[in-house]
């Protein structure tokens, strides 16, 4: 045993049982009165709740949610560029590596640009998805992420869980300076838009960083602060 348990026999007072039972009843009564007279705090950050009055640790689910941690693999999203198109070049890496084979891509050529492809159809069946995150790791263009911070919302029909590119294209835009369409210019992006995107693009990082954690709004405390804002509660220190 890593630590020693005090496994002493019951002494006479404990063998009578009723003193300890009465003490137990007192403890239960105390818990009852604490929860009876004081309501629970509605802070989504449960650990930050004040436990001196009511120790209720419940969240009323769908109205109050626990914010998911950074790196949570949730609902997929196709990461957009600043010009509104997806970063995806339909290279089929994600579809190939997906263990559940839930991604269906149809590639199409851009009319002005003979080099780049774009996904004409990009369909993910969220019911087949096993939420492994391989597609995110496989993508060379950081075009698919699972950082939406929510899970696939439940629905009454199976067809509602088949997400196509119009539903998947959402979230903050991402650009890097080494993106091919920025480096060599792309005929499908107008020149002034290109300059703007180049100005906003992130440089190539010197060492590998966790991109998700850099995405703003991704600390649990920050998300809890946002939810508290939404529920208009007083701020915690």
């Amino acid at each position: 045993m890593p630590y020693q348990l005090p496994n002493a026999d019951l002494d006479l007072r404990e063998r009578m049982y009723f003193p300890e039972v009465i003490r137990g009843v007192g403890i239960i009564m105390k818990q009852f009165f604490r929860n009876f007279f004081f309501g629970r705090e509605k802070d989504p950050d449960i650990l930050a709740r004040d436990r001196s009055l009511s120790q209720n640790a419940t969240l009323a689910y769908p109205e109050e949610r626990v914010p998911y941690p950074p790196g949570y693999r949730g609902l997929h999203r196709l990461v957009p560029r600043e010009d509104g198109r997806p970063r995806c070049v339909a290279c089929y890496m994600c579809a190939t590596i997906c263990p559940a084979q839930c991604i269906y891509i149809e590639a199409g050529e851009l009319p002005e640009d003979p080099i780049e492809k774009y996904p004409v159809k990009f369909v993910i069946d969220e019911l087949r998805c096993i939420v492994c995150g391989f597609c995110v790791e496989a993508c060379p263009k950081d075009a698919i992420r699972m950082d939406t911070g929510e899970h696939a919302p439940p629905s009454y029909t199976r067809s509602a869980q088949v997400w196509d590119e119009t539903r998947l294209l959402r979230g903050p835009t991402v650009s890097y300076q080494y993106d091919p369409w920025l480096r060599r210019g792309s005929k499908s992006i107008p020149p002034e838009k290109l300059e703007e995107m180049r100005a906003r693009a992130k440089p190539f990082p010197a060492n590998a960083t966790d991109e998700y954690a850099q995405t703003p709004g991704f600390s649990v405390r920050a998300l809890a602060a946002e939810e508290r804002e939404r529920a208009k509660l007083p701020p915690k220190t």
């Binding site: 045993m1 005090p6 007072r13 009578m16 003193p19 818990q31 209720n56 009323a60």
Partner: protein, 444 residues
């Protein structure tokens, strides 16, 4: 803060609401009595019928049904969670009270599964046999003192007690014994070996605890020199040493403890709920679907209410509002209906508090094993009860005014309090060093 004051207000308004409810009940019973005597019935018949309808079918059934919901809410409050709150009417969950309708609807609309080889008559009879005795136990409980209610200028003496028979306590023992039939029949008639085993467990537990149930009240019978519950309640109003009301709590604390625990075991309520077990062990009602199970389930809650009522009547002063009794009686007028309503309201509040206490005890203790239940009854409870009977008899013989008994009772309470509070904190380093090094040597 808002909730604090709201809940304090709620807690204070409960006795007041009960008082007004009792006022209405007294008036209603008086009207029916007036109608009945006008139609030629003997003096208390109409009042008895009205009492049956209003008290038993109204108050007890409502309390029992509300207790099914209240149990879930109060259990949640004990366990730091919310409890059922998702049925909302106009956006308000109102403490979960609408779950009553949901539970009732659920039980009524369930499919009626009938095992094929069951004994038909006994199978149908068992829920009724389980329900009726617990329900009927309430007939002798004196909810309110007899008082003159004036209906259309005529005085009628009305008491909120269904039947004031001379053998009040004996009736209670008899009805509690009858309650065994329901569980035995339910287990036997289901054509299911596990149900029979569950029924036998339940029956033997109930029969064992009836012995201590009866004997624990023998001391109170001697102290108040009557079997009628109404006389017992009245006798608890007498003041010892000019100030202390002769409550059963002071005179017979051991009797109270034994009776309360035996009542738990009679109702098969946790921690004595091995027979029903709730998804851990097959109970005696495993073949009962829908409302048949609902009857037995409700019977358990009604028995909780009724045994709380009997405990309040015998040990906590019944309808005496123990605090500020003299001032309230002088303020309202000793013979008026409002004084009687205050008394009945106090009784109803005591019933609520004792139901709450039973619920709290449910969550304090883990379930007892069957041999522990029986050992507790026959080896611990019975000798204690017999000792209490002898001691009480000796003390009453020595001092017929109950002062010596009260002194000994207070001494017993003080002893219990002292023993409960004398918790010795064991130091962490009481382990023998040899054992520790041996464990370390084995571990590596």
């Amino acid at each position: 803060m808002r909730r604090f004051f709201g809940m304090v207000l709620l807690a204070v308004s409960v006795p007041i609401a009960m008082t007004f409810l009792s006022r209405v009940v007294y008036q209603a019973v008086g009207w029916v009595e007036a109608l009945a005597t006008g139609a030629g019935a003997p003096p208390t018949y109409g009042a008895a019928i009205a009492n049956v309808v209003v008290l038993m079918a109204g108050i007890v059934m409502t309390m029992g049904a509300a207790l099914t919901v209240a149990e879930r809410k109060w259990s949640a409050m004990i366990q730091n969670r919310i409890g059922p709150n998702r049925i909302r009417v106009f956006g308000q969950s109102a403490g979960g009270i609408f779950f009553l309708a949901a539970d009732a609807l659920k039980m009524l609309t369930k499919e009626n599964i009938e095992p094929s080889q069951r004994s038909r008559v006994l199978y149908e009879l068992a829920p009724m046999a389980a329900f009726a005795p617990s329900f009927v136990l309430f007939a002798v409980v004196p909810l309110g003192p007899p008082v003159d209610v004036i209906v259309a200028g005529v005085r009628h003496t009305v008491a909120l007690q269904v039947a004031n028979i001379d053998a009040g306590l004996l009736f209670i023992f008899g009805a509690a014994s009858l309650a065994v039939y329901g569980t035995a029949l339910a287990g036997w008639s289901s054509n299911n070996k596990f149900a029979i085993l569950g029924g036998v467990r339940a029956t033997s537990q109930m029969i064992s605890y009836e012995v201590s149930l009866g004997l624990s009240l023998a001391g109170s019978m001697m102290a108040y020199q009557s079997l009628k519950l109404d006389d017992m309640v009245r006798a608890q109003g007498q003041l010892l040493w000019g100030g202390l009301p002769a409550l059963g709590f002071f005179l017979q604390p051991v009797g109270l403890l034994v009776f309360f625990v035996s009542a738990f075991a009679e109702t098969k309520r946790a921690p004595f709920d091995l027979p029903e077990g709730e998804s851990e062990i097959v109970g005696y009602f495993v073949e009962y679907p829908g409302m048949k199970f609902g009857m037995m389930f409700l019977a358990e809650f009604i028995e909780v209410v009724v045994l709380a009522a009997i405990t309040a009547a015998i040990f906590f002063g019944g309808w005496h509002p123990v605090f500020f009794e003299q001032t309230m009686r002088e303020a309202v007028g000793a013979g008026s209906v409002w004084w009687a309503s205050i008394c009945a309201g106090a009784f109803l509040t005591k019933i609520l508090l004792l139901c709450w206490l039973q619920l709290v005890i449910r969550w304090t203790l883990p379930r007892f094993r069957f041999d522990q239940i029986q050992k507790l009854c026959w080896k611990m409870r019975l000798p204690v009860t017999l000792g209490n009977v002898f001691l009480t008899a000796a003390l009453i013989l020595v001092d017929p005014s109950l002062e010596l008994l009260a002194l000994v009772g207070l001494a017993e309470i003080a002893a219990i309090v002292v023993v409960t509070a004398a918790v010795r904190r064991k130091a962490e380093g009481t382990v023998k060093p040899g054992a520790h090094t041996a464990a370390v040597a084995v571990g590596h």
